[in-house]
């Protein structure tokens, strides 16, 4: 008996309050949206194979990259790790029976689906071509595509994200099991806690900004309209006040996954647990103070540029701390190289590049040359795809036995991890060079001397596509044919591994008591020895 088999029928899923079932619902839906976004990315790469806009007209191309951005950001990256892995595991990691607000959790999924369907509807009925940034006055006065419905979709998706974040914060504060003090929380929980703060405090600002854009587009209020005395840069401020912290919403949970995976597969406590935990919170806090580095060349005051550039340098430090702490977690460990670990190694390399190139862009001088080019495209794909997506896949593989009770096939998944890594570098590394050359982003056509690198990039994208399709195939296969996993296949220490797989609906038969340190592998050995003794 477990949460999957307890009840059957569609309604038992659609009306469930169980965080694990909602996580599965989320997992299916975000995978769906990921592949739609991925297909759009494929179209973009195909179009850029040649310098001319020949596969599609420029306006089609504009719609394609806009929808790619909106779907990937609001319907994949923001909910990816928190709403799936986080939803499934946070209550188990802190020894709770469920999230604090199960109905709100379900509501969050319904809002997400409503927003997603609205987004798809928008795409089918003509699309939108503002870019995911909705820059005014372009979005308010100059395009005649479906800005309103897209805005509504993003607005609703925002509330879905707010509810998820709110639920996590409340759960982490109020639902911890006996003995689970703050410094016994797994780092995944810390990371999601930090991301949740950003969701709760950042997203509403995006919501009101979209409302103002919609009002400006429909009845013509003048808050962002330079013709009426409004300031379009104010839109940029409000938009990036959310959308910069949003990148930390996307990456922080991924960092949490990496902490868990690296600790488990090197069988060692995370090096400098406190530093890693606090660096998550530091990123969340500093993340709110750096938004205007997206606007260095946009006409904000030069004094602001200096301040925001300096703060951006400060926010880069906690990320560096994390990378080195993970590296030293390996030191004197006992390392094995299962798929999640391979993805985690991929994450560390790619995130280091992504993070460092972020410093290029946060430095006000070089930002002038590199911003709005393919350099920035490459940078955020290194962080988001090379970082977050790798972490997501790492997490899905890591907790797949817990979620489904089945092991994924090890060899082919290791292959997939390597293919993804190679394909990724082929796709996005040339874009750094393109950006340095000055190739602007969001171009359907480009000067011919950029072609060679674009061909490399497109070729890499096809490899990357294979790398992403493989897990879907073998993970689905493993649901039926995978080896039975057992409760703790990785010999990991988290509370979630101390219960059965897949877990009971109420997670634990008996409310657990956290009587040992977090990542305490010696305690785990002791438990095993006790079990062996009792069997004898």
């Amino acid at each position: 008996m477990n949460f999957l088999s307890k009840e059957n029928g569609l309604l038992s899923w659609l009306l469930t309050g169980d965080h694990k079932r909602i996580a599965i619902l989320y997992l299916i839906s975000i995978t769906f949206f990921f592949f739609i976004g991925g297909a759009l990315a494929g179209l973009i790469r195909l179009e850029l194979l040649t310098p001319q806009a020949d596969l599609m007209a420029t306006d089609t191309y504009n719609k394609v990259f806009t929808m790619h951005g909106i779907i990937m950001i609001f319907f994949f990256l923001v909910p990816s790790v928190p709403a799936t892995i986080g939803n499934f595991l946070i209550p188990m990691m802190i020894g709770a029976k469920d999230l604090a607000l199960p109905k709100i959790n379900l509501l969050s999924w319904y809002l997400y689906m409503a927003a997603g369907m609205l987004g798809l509807y928008t795409m089918i009925t003509g699309g939108v071509d503002t870019g995911w940034t909705f820059t005014t006055p372009l979005s308010t006065h100059y395009v005649n595509t479906n800005v309103l419905t897209t805005g509504l979709a993003v607005f609703i998706a925002g509330f879905s994200s707010i509810f998820t974040g709110l639920n996590f914060i409340v759960t982490i504060h109020k639902m911890r099991c006996p003995g689970m003090t703050w410094f016994k929380l797994p780092l995944f929980v810390w990371a999601n806690y930090a991301a949740s703060i950003l969701m709760v405090l950042g997203t509403p600002v995006l919501a009101i900004t979209i409302v103002l854009v919609a009002l400006e587009r429909t009845i013509g209020i003048g808050v962002f309209d330079p013709a009426k005395g409004g300031d379009p840069i104010l839109f940029q401020h409000l938009f990036w006040f959310y959308s910069h912290p949003a990148v930390y919403i996307m990456i922080l949970p991924g960092m949490g996954v990496i902490s868990e995976v690296i600790s488990t597969f090197s069988r060692k406590r995370v090096f400098g647990y406190t530093a890693v935990a606090f660096s998550s919170v530091a990123i969340a806090i500093f993340g709110f103070f750096v938004w205007a580095h997206h606007m260095f060349i946009m006409g904000i005051s030069n004094y602001s540029v200096i301040v925001f550039s300096l703060l951006t340098m400060l926010v880069a430090v906690p990320s560096a701390i994390k990378i080195f702490n993970w590296t030293f977690t390996l030191y004197k460990g006992s390392i094995t190289f299962e798929t999640p670990m391979l993805y985690a190694f991929g994450f560390m390399g790619l995130f280091t590049i992504g993070g460092m190139t972020g410093v290029f862009l946060g430095t006000s001088g070089t930002d002038i040359h590199l911003t709005e080019t393919y350099f920035i495209v490459a940078h955020f794909h290194f962080v988001m795809v090379g970082g977050m997506l790798m972490a997501f896949l790492s997490g899905v593989h890591f907790w797949w036995p817990k979620m489904t009770g089945r092991m994924y096939p090890e060899k082919i998944s290791q292959l997939a991890a390597v293919v993804t890594f190679i394909g990724f570098n082929f796709t996005f590394f040339p874009q750094f060079i393109l950006g340095t050359l000055g190739m602007p982003r969001r171009y359907a056509s480009y000067p011919p001397e950029f072609q060679v690198l674009n061909v490399f990039s497109t070729a890499g994208a096809s490899i990357l596509g294979v790398g992403y399709l493989l897990p879907v195939l073998y993970l689905t296969w493993s649901l039926k044919y995978g080896a039975v996993a057992g409760d703790n296949p990785w010999q990991a220490t988290g509370l979630e591994w101390q219960t059965q797989s897949p877990p009971l609906t109420e997670n634990f038969a008996v409310t657990p008591i956290m009587d040992h340190e977090v990542y305490d592998y010696e305690w785990l050995e002791g438990q095993k020895a006790k079990e062996v003794a009792s069997v004898r």
Binding site: P226, I297, F328, L330, T352, V359, T366
Partner: protein, 358 residues
């Protein structure tokens, strides 16, 4: 390679040799920015190498076969402090270095030559002070500081010249500036890098850098007959600006001679530097920028003058070093020097006695 068709072979060779890996450095700032760029590349490479080396060597040294039992280590304050402080120090160096370059790029020298650029969906229109217009191209001489004053007529655009390493957004309703000093003659890319709608990817052009002599020749060939300032003078007359801004003792508006670059005292008690942006504001929203000692009687010219028109007026006022010609304009329309075209008749507004200078 005999089995590859020679045509295809030639095509491939051309394709592979045409492609670029690093943009040309064609301005004075470019090598400075590249120095910082390569410094950061170096730091990144070192950082990445350290991480890769450590991960690889730990993976080899401490894999399960070789090292079956992990040694639990809590952490090390010293080590952690090291990798907090060293990156922070490096980032701060980058910050200071970057900020210095940022100062330079957006702080034009006083003697720079000013070219106005208007962005609109989907083209760049450059206005040289001599009255030469260009669309989607920009001709500039080497060895001279060129300041661009940018504005957009509709949405955000961004004026980017990768070979010069400069870029600036053209914002609707506000001037922005950037400057550069070209060093190497040649033709370079000009891009709009801020997404601006359907034909965004066609809003490209070229920057032609010429030797000063060639540039002079080009200027002479492409003259439209009237300089920007002359154009502005004509507008000044046709909008009857001189009805008030005529520097007479009873003038209802302040004299505009030498006003550019001066500090103006405003009637609300503040002072303001009369730069391009201010002049534009004062034409479009005059009641919010009343010079001390004058009544707020100037009407707004919003909607009556195009952005190009405002640019001409600003350029005219900038070059106004005496009131002589303004007074000429009000006295007669026939006294304009030759080559300036026929000025429109100055329709002087009826003077109301109650509205004279306070």
């Amino acid at each position: 390679m005999s089995h590859i068709s020679p045509v295809l072979w030639q095509y491939l060779v051309k394709w592979m040799t045409d492609f670029a890996l690093f943009p040309p450095e064609a301005s004075k700032i470019a090598p400075q920015m590249d120095a910082l760029y390569f410094f950061m590349v170096l730091v990144s490479l070192v950082g990445l190498t350290i991480v890769i080396l450590l991960v690889t060597s730990f993976s080899i040294l401490y894999n399960k076969e070789r090292h079956p039992v992990a040694v639990q280590i809590e952490g090390s304050t010293l080590l952690e402090a090291t990798w907090t402080i060293i990156p922070l120090g490096l980032f701060l160096i980058m910050f200071v270095w970057g900020a210095l370059i940022y100062f330079r790029v957006y702080n034009p020298p006083a003697n720079s030559m000013n070219i106005y650029v208007v962005g609109k969906q989907w083209m760049w229109k450059a206005e040289h002070p001599g009255g030469q217009h260009e669309i989607n191209s920009l001709h500039v001489p080497t060895g001279r500081a060129i300041q661009l004053t940018l504005i957009s007529q509709d949405v955000f655009h961004s004026f980017s010249i990768p070979a010069f390493r400069v870029k600036r957004e053209a914002i609707p309703g506000r001037y922005t500036t950037v400057w550069f000093e070209p060093t190497v003659p040649g033709t370079y890319h000009l891009f709009c890098t801020q997404y601006c709608g359907t034909e965004h990817s066609h809003m490209i052009g070229e920057v032609v850098v010429m030797t000063p002599d060639d540039y002079k020749k080009w200027l002479a060939e492409s003259t439209s007959g009237m300089s920007l300032a002359q154009n502005g003078e004509r507008l000044f007359a046709s909008l009857s600006c001189a009805a008030c801004h005529n520097a007479r003792p009873d003038a209802r508006g302040p004299s505009l001679a030498n006003v550019y670059g001066s500090k103006l005292a405003l009637s609300n008690g503040g002072t303001v530097l009369a730069d391009d942006a201010y002049l534009r504001e004062a034409i479009l929203n005059p009641s919010q920028h009343v010079t001390q000692g004058y009544s707020p009687i100037m009407p707004t010219y919003q909607g009556q003058v195009s952005e190009e028109g405002v640019i001409s007026l600003v350029e005219y006022i900038k070059n106004l070093s005496s009131d002589y010609r303004v007074q000429q304009t009000t006295n007669t329309t026939d006294l304009l020097p030759e080559g300036e075209g026929k000025a429109m008749p100055a329709a002087t507004a009826p003077v109301k006695p109650g509205m004279v200078k306070q």
